[in-house]
């Protein structure tokens, strides 16, 4: 069955355990024209809150590709509560697009009604865990579906944190029933910035909850005094160390839908397709290992 004959099932069915790419406005036309050989596409939910051209493109593209809606603005960790108007805009977009996946971040972006335009790290405390779980619950209730929650990159930790981030994320999944979007690049970035062991992080996540993996590039910033911080800017190719960590993640979780993200200095579509093809090779290998293990 060709992709073209199954528009509805493609639009409503699950995302395959294959490699996809993040879709940004400059690639809308190229995706329609070229039908790149990627298994699925993910967009930022907030970019489709309005009507007109962006939504028309997405509705055309979703006839041929499963779509994932990835939110960046819900601020699941805000102590002052969810912005219910924002959640309602997410709900309307989800109802219109009927995506295969819906995801958000384990972070916060809003304080005193002001949007701070970044994914800020939560203090890893029981209080913050309670807030995050309440807001994931509320979101899943309003959207009437399970969401995936992604681990963010971070450049600072709070002195009063008491729970390792990997345990915090696993607890959110356990308490709310949400899935986990495991961003392998973010684990690598945060592990370098905070001197964590990325393998410890992966080992703490419940394999059954992993619904998606993200891959992306990041940059390295030299600070005064010689310290280096890695910055998650999605502006380059995935680095070898992150490919290695990805292979380790697939070894733990099995083949999981995998997405290559690219936001700044967006290259031609072919570069993203090429990165997705590299992920596809590792997914194939993970499938073979699974089959070998079953046969044994």
């Amino acid at each position: 069955m060709s992709a073209r004959t199954a528009p509805i099932s493609a639009a409503r069915g699950p995302v395959p355990r294959e490699a996809g790419i993040g879709l940004r406005f400059p690639h809308h036309q190229a995706v329609l024209d070229e039908r790149p050989p990627v298994a699925w596409l993910e967009v930022h939910t907030e970019n489709y809150f309005g009507g007109g051209t962006p939504l028309a493109y997405l509705e055309a593209i979703r006839r041929d590709y499963p779509i994932s809606l990835h939110g960046v603005g819900l601020s699941l960790g805000s102590a002052e509560g969810l912005d219910l108007d924002h959640l309602d805009r997410v709900r309307r977009t989800v109802e219109r697009i009927a995506p295969a996946l819906v995801s958000e971040h384990l972070s916060w972006s809003i304080a005193e009604g002001r949007y701070l335009a970044d994914l800020l790290p939560l203090p890893m405390t029981e209080e913050a865990l309670g807030v995050a779980c309440r807001h994931v619950d509320r979101t899943q209730t309003v959207l009437r579906r399970r969401i995936l929650v992604e681990n963010p990159s971070s450049y600072l930790r709070w002195r009063h944190s008491t729970i390792p981030e990997w345990e915090f994320l696993a607890a959110v999944a356990r308490r709310t029933g949400c899935g986990i979007l495991c961003d392998v690049n973010n684990i690598y970035v945060s592990a370098c910035n905070h001197r964590w062991d990325p393998s410890t992080y992966l080992a703490a996540l419940p394999p059954a909850a992993i619904g998606e993996i993200h891959l992306a590039g990041h940059s390295v910033r030299q600070l005064e005094g010689g310290r280096v911080l890695r910055i998650d800017d999605h502006g380059s190719r995935v680095i070898p160390q992150v490919w290695e960590l990805y292979a380790e993640a697939l070894g733990r979780f099995g083949p999981v839908p995998t997405l290559v993200e690219w936001d700044t200095n967006l290259p031609p579509l072919a570069v993203l397709v090429n990165e997705a093809a590299r992920a596809a090779v590792l997914l194939d290998r993970a499938r073979e290992e699974l089959a070998d293990a079953d046969a044994a």
Binding site: G52, L74, D83, H86, W108, A117, W158, H160, L229
Partner: protein, 264 residues
């Protein structure tokens, strides 16, 4: 131990007002000064919101240049930080900010170009809405027609400016220096209709009376009031055109001070 709310309010002050001290107390230094760690988030905030503003105001960005734009944007963002997480909706106050921004005084038309760009931005991001079902209008008795108050399509804006800002906007975005040089900035005021059509956003000049009628209709004035505001146009023909173009998407019946007699 600080509460989550205390931490988040302190970080908000650090990011928006560059007041790092309250948040820095809570940050684990680990070899990097807390201010440097907080500074990364502040830089990301300014950079992300400035980019959003530049995408909404591309002609302003080209008119004043990147350095001036970023400087003005930084001051504006600190004074009016975004209140919603979808940044497409951010920047409505930027034209008024530019109108009062002393370093921009040499360009008296700048704020008006910005008002036009905000209308274009609104048109780009407005939700899709069905046009008014004309059979609903046909069901209204003729005696009630004057009481009809229309609801405009959210993509429609009416912009008035003292300078030919539509010409400036087009020439700047086309990077057409020749057209830019040919604009007579003292050519007098313009009255503009901005809307999203199937082919994209369009900016159309209207004569002043036709613009007044359109503005009254889109402000949901009663039809009779709108007609009285523009006595020198063929209101029926213009209304038909607005309806056919899908610029009006609903209506309700309201009291009309001119014909109802109630308010006489």
């Amino acid at each position: 131990m600080p509460t989550l709310l205390e931490v988040q309010r302190a970080v908000g002050r650090s990011i928006i007002a560059s007041d790092d001290a309250p948040a820095a107390r809570y940050v684990f230094a680990d070899g990097v000064p807390p201010r440097a760690r907080l500074g990364i988030y502040r830089n990301n905030f300014v950079s992300n919101v400035t980019t959003a503003l530049r995408l909404s105001y591309p002609a302003i960005h080209r008119l004043v240049g990147a350095e001036f734009f970023e400087g003005a944007a930084h001051i504006f963002i600190s004074a009016e930080p975004p209140r919603r997480a979808d940044l497409d909706a951010y920047g409505e106050g930027f034209p008024e900010f530019l109108a009062g921004f002393a370093p921009a005084r040499a360009l008296p038309y700048l704020a008006s170009v910005a008002r036009l760009e905000w209308a274009v931005n609104r048109a780009l991001h407005a939700p899709d809405m069905e046009p008014l079902d004309l059979s609903r209008l046909a069901a209204i008795a003729a005696a009630e027609h004057g009481h009809v108050a229309f609801l405009p399509h959210p993509s429609v804006s009416l912009v008035a400016a003292d300078h030919p800002v539509d010409e400036v906007w087009r020439a700047v975005l086309a990077e057409d220096d020749h057209a830019m040089g040919a604009i007579n900035l003292d050519a007098g005021p313009v009255r503009l209709l901005v809307e999203r059509r199937a082919t994209g956003v369009e900016v159309t000049r209207l004569e002043a009376p036709a613009w007044r009628l359109a503005a009254a209709l889109c402000a949901s004035r009663a039809l009779q009031t709108a007609i009285d505001a523009a006595p020198d146009v063929d209101a029926a023909a213009l209304l038909t055109e607005h309806l056919a173009a899908g610029r009006l998407i609903g209506f309700e019946l309201v009291d009309c001070p001119i014909t109802s007699g109630v308010h006489a």
